[in-house]
């Protein structure tokens, strides 16, 4: 008889997520359900507003991937208005998004994911001298991992642990036998955790230089950007580059080093494909490299799909194949719909309260605020792993170089990519790639401005273009493929939809009862102790969940949002 466990709240994510899992007598997960437990209704809120204002509001879908919904919304409107932004604006947006990626990914690895790989209490037993030597195995010039620095970290953590109140480390899964790092390795990683916590403030400043502030920048507008002063002043670019180079150093000599270390120690899980899941990948592509037009430019991350983990199955991306199914989601609807045709109404059917006092998901019926997106007739995964896999499959030279370089350093075969460990490594590989290319972009921006080009905005006749227009912004947020679709009539938003990365990944089953990415990735995972969801967290966190984003934002075209069908017999709360 299986053990049915509820993990709510899933912590160290953005948003509100519940995972239910069924574990058999061999402590193996045989079934899993992923559900979001919060809804805001931002699509109805956007309806009726001026499309030039939508970006600022859409940005508040998420404060972690801040700036990304902002940009996507503006891109959708620019597509609808047929506006191409000037070169400076393109570079500024790339730099701001890039700054988000490299901040977000590093903070994710250490402060959200890290404690699933690193046993902080074990670091207290380490020998700092040996730990310093350990660090040299993974980097020629390790960041902040000299014997003295490591000893200081150890003393600081020891003091903290001794006084009894562990703050955010309280009731963690310390000592679980599925932690695999040595005490010395744990000490190195713990030192980096604390250093990253301090340094990320500087990394965030990059976005603030051209974005105004972080979180929630403010310098993007339909047609371009507003940061004229900041691009005019060479000192700002110099500051940006200085911050970038410092963070790049941390990425190479702490982050990549630690991921190689963890990847090696957890290689068995990588090799047996723990956490692989769907093995179907999709990207919309992103980071425009020239000014030939939004959907014409060459891209840093190519768009496309790879199915069944087969790199030879690459296909280019087709926007018309995106639909969403609501069979198991708390909305009305009987067939999958493309975002432009969406018409949905919340239909909350609640959870089921059982004798043990807990409320369980009604997994045979509707059980999540997240919809189930489909690409054609496939369930797919999005994110850094998808970008790296599709990039390699599409023959992109740069991506292939970084991926094969990393695998070679770690002496790992390509197949390890299809696992929780692989997903985690892909995020790190992408971060290093992004930091390196950003050095080129900041130089390009500086040179362009120095040569006399100060244009930041393309003019357009609002009344003309906003009379009747449709557009979409399809690109890549840090967590994966992000699309905003907008329908504009008489200068106002008539319909707005966003299908976000965590919608793809965190979704429930579809009409054919096929699992979403999180659900699929948990099947077959062995847990050391069913009362400690460590392994579940390790895999779910590898997707970098962003659940406020994931809850679907489909418009209620023309209908009052006053119709909530609640079945009184099922509503137990």
């Amino acid at each position: 008889m299986g053990k049915h466990i509820i993990i709510d709240p899933i912590t160290r994510i953005e948003g509100h997520l519940r995972i239910e899992a069924v574990i058999d007598d061999n402590n193996t997960i045989v079934d899993a359900y992923s559900a979001s437990t919060m809804f805001r209704g931002i699509e109805a809120i956007l309806k009726g507003r001026d499309p030039r204002d939508a970006g600022l509001l859409a940005m508040r879908i998420c404060g972690v991937c801040t700036g990304t919904h902002y940009q996507r919304s503006i891109e959708a409107v620019e597509h609808a208005f047929n506006v191409t932004i000037p070169k400076n604006a393109r570079l500024v947006r790339n730099l701001v998004q890039g700054a988000l990626y490299i901040h977000d990914h590093v903070v994710h690895f250490y402060h959200l994911h890290g404690l699933d790989w690193v046993d902080v209490t074990s670091a207290l037993k380490a020998d700092p001298k040996k730990a310093a030597q350990e660090a040299l195995k993974w980097s020629k010039n390790p960041w902040g991992a000299s014997e003295g620095e490591l000893r200081a970290v150890q003393e600081r953590v020891t003091k903290f642990v001794k006084q009894g109140r562990l703050g955010p480390f309280a009731k963690g899964y310390w000592g679980n036998k599925h932690y695999k790092l040595t005490p010395e390795q744990n000490l190195v990683a713990t030192a980096h955790y604390l250093q990253a916590l301090d340094l990320q403030r500087d990394a965030a400043k990059m976005m603030a230089i051209y974005g105004g502030k972080m979180p929630h920048p403010q310098s993007f507008v339909v047609g371009g950007v507003t940061c004229v002063q900041d691009i005019q002043n060479p000192a700002r670019g110099a500051l940006f580059k200085n911050l970038l180079l410092n963070w790049q150093n941390f990425i190479k000599n702490a982050y990549i080093a630690d991921v190689l270390m963890a990847g090696t120690m957890y290689a068995d899980e990588a090799l047996d494909g723990t956490g692989a899941g769907l093995k179907n990948f999709m990207t919309y592509g992103d980071f425009r490299l020239d000014d030939t037009g939004f959907y014409k430019s060459a891209l840093l991350f190519p768009s496309g799909t790879v199915m069944n983990g087969d790199l030879k199955s690459y296909q280019p991306f087709d926007q018309s194949k995106v639909t969403e199914d609501v069979t198991h989601s708390w909305y009305e609807g009987d067939k999958p719909l493309h975002p432009f045709d969406g018409e949905t109404i919340p239909n909350y059917t609640g959870l089921e309260k059982k004798a043990d006092g807990y409320a369980y998901l009604k997994t045979k019926e509707k059980y999540s605020w997240i919809k189930a997106p489909l690409y054609g007739d496939e369930r797919v995964e999005v994110g850094p792993l998808a970008r790296m896999v599709v990039g390699v499959a599409a023959g992109d030279e740069r991506i292939t170089k970084y991926v094969t370089g990393f695998l070679k350093k770690g002496n790992l075969p390509t197949s390890v990519l299809f696992s929780t460990v692989g997903r985690t490594a892909a995020r790190a590989i992408e971060t290093e790639l992004m930091a390196d290319v950003m050095v080129e972009w900041i130089d390009e921006l500086q040179a362009n401005v120095a040569a006399g080009d100060l244009s930041t905005w393309t003019e357009f006749d609002f009344d003309k273009v906003a009379a009747d227009a449709k557009g979409y912004g399809l690109a890549e947020a840090p967590r994966g493929a992000l699309g905003h679709w907008v329908n504009i009539k008489d200068g106002k938003i008539e319909n707005y939809q966003a299908v976000v990365p965590s919608t793809w990944n965190a979704s429930p089953r579809d009409a054919k009862n096929r699992m979403g990415a999180y659900e699929a990735s948990l099947i077959g995972t062995k847990v050391a102790d069913p009362d400690q969801p460590l392994e579940i967290l390790r895999t779910v966190h590898s997707f970098d969940p962003c659940i406020a984003c994931a809850v679907h934002l489909v418009d209620t075209k023309g209908k009052e949002l006053g119709v909530y069908k609640i079945d009184p017999t099922s509503c137990s709360i």
Binding site: T11, I13, G212, G224
Partner: protein, 410 residues
Amino acid sequence: MNERRAVLTKMFSAKDTQVATNRGEDYYETLWQKCRARLDDLKKLPARSTTSIEDILDIEGFSRRDFMKWASAATAMLMLPASFTPLIAEAAEVMNRVPVIWLELQDCAGNSEALLRSDGPTIDELLLDILSLEFHETIMAAAGHQAEAQLEEAMETFHGKYLCFVEGSIPLGMNGQFGTFGPKAETFVDHLKRVSSGAAAVVAVGSCATFGGVPAASPNPTGAVGVMDVIKGKPIINIPACPANPANMVGVVLHYVLTGQVPELDSLLRPKFAFGYRIHDNCERRAHFDAGEYVEEWGDEGAKNNFCLYKMGCKGPMTFNNCSIVRYNEGVNWPIGVGRGCIGCSEPDFWDKYAYERPMADANIKAPTGGVESTVDEFGLGLLTATAVGIGIHAVASATAGKKSDNGDA
């Protein structure tokens, strides 16, 4: 004309917009004694952590002098005289006596992220290190049952003593079921009421927790409200903005430690030290506003010359916050600095009233009542009508003064 000038003068020199920065010797003497007594009481309590400020400063390579410089700056930000600086420093040292439980409801995590950017140098990070953060879903190690147990235990151990920080709005629609927490699917509203019942005070951070924010923007599909609409009979402090400035979050905690009380608040429960004056009062582009020099189009000559952003929708004149002084990300930049005006994010209903790139006279905004958009007058916002009139005069003056030509001649 004289009447209009009188309106203008009154509006820009109205008493409400000024914060009394000198309250007289007796006031400060009494306050000082209160703070001293409070600190002495706190020091008698058992320490939550034996990690001392000296240890942290030492490890991080900061001198005592650096620390005192920070204490000076924090004292000034709280609008206290210099004699309070040593008390602020002492308060920082005993800050680890205050347990904090942080709840996230209908949120985007922007305020938690903002807190990670904590302003002022690393020293504020150090303070977070020794503040006893008992529960915070975004960074805590435990999940599921262990996380729930940690919350319950912290509430019991520190009953009556912890600060409850809240981020995100509270949905009341559909019996509160638009948001649930934990294995028993407790609704957010029940969760908030239960957790705040044992708190010493509730601090709502960000526009959603204070005034409803994004989820409450028209038509508010989930019946979202802010903390003060749900919690009664508890001291509440609102720190709005989207997200709130971390300097203000830390300032509030410091004040609480120092005096054991909430800081002086305005009618919207916002601390006066941060929200007692408008963006407009301290804006670096104010001289351009006064001279009638405006940006008229993104990227134009005015933009290249730092002109006032009023005509591009800056709501600085209506917005109370200290962004024009404290700025963001350790002073690196702020909205006006990056060439995009203020969107009024520390004010209630700003998504409906202020957050668009046109001045209020050309609002073209979505009426909260739904249907036809209209001007300010139809909403009956009297004060703002006067504001719009006052600024309208200014804008007219600029049109007659003429824009700067492309040659840069006045």
